[in-house]
Amino acid sequence: MLVDIHNLIIGFDGTEVVRGLDLTIQRGEIVALVGESGSGKSVTARSLVGLAGPGARVTADRFIIDGADVTRFRERDWRALRGRKIGFVLQDALVSLDPLRRIGQQLADASRGRASRAEGAALLASVGMRDAERRLVQYPHQLSGGLRQRALIATAIAQDPALVIADEPTTALDATVQKQILDLLRQRRRAGQTLLLISHDLAIVADLADRVLVMRDGEVVEHGPTAHILSAPAHPYTRRLLDAIPSPRSRGTQLTTGQRLLPKRIDPLHVVLEARHLVKRYGRDQVAAVDDVSFTLAAGEALGIVGESGSGKTTVARIVLGLVEPDDGRVELAGQPWSALSEPERRLHRAGIQFIAQDALSSFDPRYDVGRIVGETLDAVGVFGAARRRRVLEVLDAVRLGPSFLDRHPRELSGGQRQRVAIARAFAPRPRLLVADEPVSALDVSIQAQILDLLAELQATSGTSLLFISHDLGVVQHLTDRVLVMKEGRVVESGEVGSVLARPRHPYTQALLEALPSLPARVRQPDPVLERSAS
């Protein structure tokens, strides 16, 4: 037994964030810890290397790592264990590697100065990085997301530890890159390595982990072999986590409740947005970020644009929003010129087109309260005073936030609440078109489900058209009616979501579909507890 923990309790300032956790890890096993943010999974993982955080009180009846009782460990003992017995991989290597040091230097640091240049290169090769010699002298920002994550994994295994802990190792990554990293972890498993995987997404651990522990509010609510948990989850919370994963089966239903969505009122004859042959080039080499992209969006319809970072989908969104001028081609709104207008002319119509960003927090003025944030979009439509207050309360109510949120500030809100405020703000002036750029990709699966349900509901009731941009095919196929698949600035495939995903013609679409984590089929049980607690 590599890790044997019984009755682990972790507290900060008297509040217990982990209560009575039991965890055992055998050699050669992959164990997954799953739960949403705040469930205590990350701090549990960090307590395994003695880095639970300043002010953390960690106690356990039994806490044994590789035969050593760590409850008696001092900082010195922990240092000897870190890296040597347990390697640690965090999410988003851009910030988890020192941005000011070369990859090779960091590999040397990670191996405590023992790895020579050749050994560093061998380490990089072992995590599937070609061209390792050149990568050694590069800095993290010079690598793509996938390569950075590989480099981070290389630092974690530099001292050949018995156990590797990976805390959300793929969360910041595109689907196909995520698949590469998961494949890499799978390879290590075949080589008999032990892994503790932390994730908010059951789909990610589905075909990787031997055993799963589902955590909620600091407690393990369910644990067992992965196949068993996925096919016959016993606890309502586990079922909720599974239901939250968008899939072809979930189309047309709410993710949080399983109920049918309101029917959309799509008017195909009324074109709200038309983009014709958009081209945008950047840089000295005039690389086309967007290359001949055309599409239309009808009233009440949802159009998804799916692609990986660098595919040009965000540039398309900016052109549609009138924030970037296309080098060629044009955008029309309801048959009227839009991209051809000057900014003062455009400003008169801006209220009709609203935007939801990925990171809600940075799209808010931190000094504004929620009432002011939501009300600000009503400036453009001339709604002030009592009427403004009424409308703000109305849209806040629509996103399930009560009047008590009016004077809260962005920092006091959770990630999901922030995105709700962003949605309320966007819907406040009753726009005809809503552009959402990766609105759920920074959220946990369970929060993502709530936000997707909300978007679907508001879109159906308001009849607003939605341009939905995402790197996640699963989300796009759940929410949208038609889809454009973009790669290197071009649309490689487009059409009705059902038919494109059922019969993908372009190899890239096929690769994206393949990269989607798949869940085994499961008998759906009606669950009264679930309905009530899903808020």
Binding site: R79, A80, L90, G128
Partner: protein, 326 residues
């Protein structure tokens, strides 16, 4: 295994170096332009000042035909202004700042003889400041108790006028303990007290910024990664954190070097040291325009050199800045 990421445009290391050299060359060139502007401004202000140049340059000395003739010859006052300007540029370029008719000496020689003590003092003060700031930040960052003590000490140091600090230091170490000399510039030990009294205030301010940056760096996710390798806290601070914290501190230090020079004026008085400070004060009071002009150009040069050095240091510290902004 297919790896789409590997297909992205390769950036080879040599190209990066070339790019950085280009950036450095650009900064040096723009520094030279600033310097030229400062010299030109000096010339223009001389031309625009009320009264004729001869009386400006003579100051309050008695005006004799001999001196007047010498000035006319030196500045070529009979020639067109453009020619005067080019001649002036040419002279400055060769380090010739003319003659002080008040002190009856060459300005270049005067400055050359006084610049060394001042340079020594400011360099030593800068050294004191950096050592103090780094030690104070590295040892106390993130430690609730120690940082409070260090913060208070720094506040006291930063708010104490350097002449007062100098007098206190003199009283303690020279008059009472008799460890260090009172005045002069003959031995290295004579440099200790002036450097401390000038440098500690600067070090206190930089130390605050450095500590704040260090604390921010230690809370970054990468700090957790580094600790998970089994690295000691000190190595994390020195090897990883300090570099992140250094960026704002270097910028601030560059700005404060200017203060150091003006602070040197007072410190030189307190400790009875020779130096540029005294020369400047006397020149300004006596309206010795050639000396004032030379000092002005010299301070512009110091400013240009430090800000260029700060820019280059930033490029060395942070590879992310070495990118083309196209």
């Amino acid at each position: 295994m297919s790896d789409a990421a590997l297909l992205e445009p390769a950036i080879a290391a040599p190209a990066r170096h070339g790019r950085m050299l280009r950036q450095v060359a650009g900064r040096v060139a723009s520094g030279l332009v600033v310097l030229w502007a400062a010299v030109t401004l000096g010339f223009v202000s001389l031309q625009l000042a009320p009264g004729d140049i001869v009386s400006l340059l003579i100051g309050e000395q008695p005006r004799t035909p001999a001196v007047e003739a010498a000035i006319r010859a030196e500045w070529g006052l009979g020639d067109p202004v453009a020619v005067q300007y080019l001649r002036y540029l040419w002279r400055v370029l060769h380090g010739d700042f003319g003659r002080s008719y008040i002190l009856q000496t060459d300005v270049s020689g005067l400055i050359a003889s006084q610049i060394w003590p001042t340079a020594k003092l400011t360099a030593a003060a800068l050294g004191v400041a950096i050592v103090f700031a780094v030690l104070s930040a590295v040892t106390t960052a993130g430690r609730s108790w120690a940082r409070r003590v260090a913060g208070s000490v720094e506040l006291v140091l930063a708010s104490t006028p350097s002449f007062w600090l100098g007098i206190v230091l003199l009283f303690v170490f020279s008059f009472t303990l008799k460890l260090l000399p009172v005045a002069g510039d003959r031995t290295l030990s004579a440099l200790v007290l002036p450097a401390l009294s000038l440098g500690l205030a600067l070090g206190a301010v930089v130390g605050q910024v450095l500590r704040e940056g260090l604390e921010r760096a230690l809370e970054e996710p990468f700090a957790l990664t580094v600790r998970s390798w089994g690295t000691t806290g000190l190595v994390l601070r020195v090897r990883h954190g300090l570099r992140h914290a250094a960026l704002p501190a270097v910028t601030l230090t560059g700005w404060l070097v200017g203060h150091l020079l003006s602070g040197a004026v007072i410190t030189e008085q307190v400790f009875g040291r020779p130096g540029l400070g005294r020369v400047t004060v006397e020149a300004v009071l006596g309206q010795d325009l050639p000396v004032v002009l030379a000092v002005a150009i010299l301070s512009a040069a110091v400013f240009v050199v430090t800000s260029t050095a700060v820019d280059i240091l930033s490029l060395l510290l942070d590879p992310r800045l070495r990118r083309d902004r196209s």
